[in-house]
Amino acid sequence: MSPDTVHSVQSVVFGLDPRWVAGGLFVVTYAVVMSERVNRAIVALLAAGLMIFAGILTQDAAIDGVDFNTLGLLTGMMVIVAVTKRSGVFQYLAIWSAKKVQARPWGILVMLTLVTALLSAFLDNVTTVLLIAPVTLLIAEELRVSPYPFLFSEIFASNIGGTATLIGDPPNIMIGSAVDLTFNDFVMNLSPVVLVVLLVTLVPIYLIWGRKMHAEPQYRERVMRFDEREAITDPRLLKQSLSVLGLVLTAFVLAHPLHLEPATIAMFGGALLLLLANWPHGADEQARNVHHAFTEVEWVTIFFFVGLFIVVHGLDSTGLLRMLAEWLAAATGGDLTVTALSILWVSAIASAVVDNIPFVATMIPLIKSMAPTFGGPEGLMPLWWSLSLGACLGGNGTLVGASANLIVAGLAERAGQPIRFVPFLLAAFPLMLLSIVISTVYIYLRYL
């Protein structure tokens, strides 16, 4: 934020230093969100209100802090997916890929891992695992094999794949929006390392589980009898959905020359798909379908973002983050290599333990404040890629590291195959560290 926002701070309650009030409010918000005792959207919205009541922000200033580009992109993509998934295309894809490898368990694991990574590069991670994990459970049940290794790989694939693009994971959406990075910037800078991380991750998964996987021929036969074409429940909707998805992705790639922001593209795509899918229907049915598509939007996440953006903006407007950035720059001696790699590793460890969304929301203004140290905004690029890789890949470290992990664990539990915290940690944390080591080498060789 510009330095003059510091002076816009108004009279703060009881004449306390605004930095203390905002800082205290921020720490308490973080602690309550981490405790998971109160829904995170409630916490963030209450804290946002308190920032305004305390006089740190006016309502107008608070609204300025909300990144509507992030919110619009998330909401638009969620609407598109809500409509698209009714066509059955994702089940088709999962079954098709299982049959391509003659329903051999390790082959299926590799295929579903790749499909999950590819889908989560373009869709929200939680959505991706909600689409793929149930089909995985179905296939594993038919094969009479444990679904655990499959779900474990899919958790990893969703977080790894999501790192590759602007729209794959909320940290990237936030970074891209805050720093004006395009879809292509993310693909060019992150997808090479993401591909390496994904393939290398499969090696330990093979050594731990893959080489011992076996399914009886009669059970593989059951999966081979699956008819993926019958999974397509609405061919017309399928054509419409794939056309709109194709258009939206093309628009993301051409966004820069077209001068379009991601939220415009996603929201327009969502509205266009709703129009196509509802075109011949009467008013009542349209209302029902549109209502249904909107209920599939993760409103808890969206409102959490709203509150969080305001809280972080309040903190930022007091100048506290700028002070912290100057202190950090001094601590690292203004060395770009040390700063980039510190951000990568700290982000990874932090994101393994806490939600990466508030972490990234806080880091963005902090890193922006370091621009003078590293010769302007251009000099910050290695830091942004470090933040993205650390925050997205770090989510793999523990079962609570990312929402997708918890969603898969929840599905597995209901299918009678629970994923426990400690066993997951023992395999996942070293694997996550491996991905960060690969990222370290990549960042160092390419940018430092």
């Binding site: 998934k85 909600l130 149930p134 089909v135 059951r222 009898r225 999974a231």
Partner: protein, 143 residues
Amino acid sequence: MVLPHTARLRDAARLILEHRFRNVPVVDESGRYLGVVSANRLLQMVLPKAAFMERSGIDSLPFVKDTLADFRERWREVASTPVLECLDTDLETVTPETSIAETLLSLYHNRTSLPVVDATTMRLVGIVSHWSAGAAMVGEGSP
């Protein structure tokens, strides 16, 4: 027609198939009501678990081509599951004191036979079904 708490799913299936019940109540050794095993629950046991997860996205299985032989095998595998593991305890119950109107409305809402449970002792005292309620209203011998 009740099942002891030690019964297995095959016992429940036998009663349900023999008498065309929608569900059978399960009681403990002192006759206290524990819950019911429903015909629907038996269907659920032979179908893939993935089809019964909230928000799972698998609400239809047109692509699964399992044969009758496959389902027979699944049933053999689950038939000796204790009924206590498949108990439906959420089904509404009525008491001997429940009014006729309320009982009929409960039948309408639940679309299945309902256990009649004594409110103080929690013992199962009977079952009210669409058929028993209908017969009582129409009156024996009436058209």
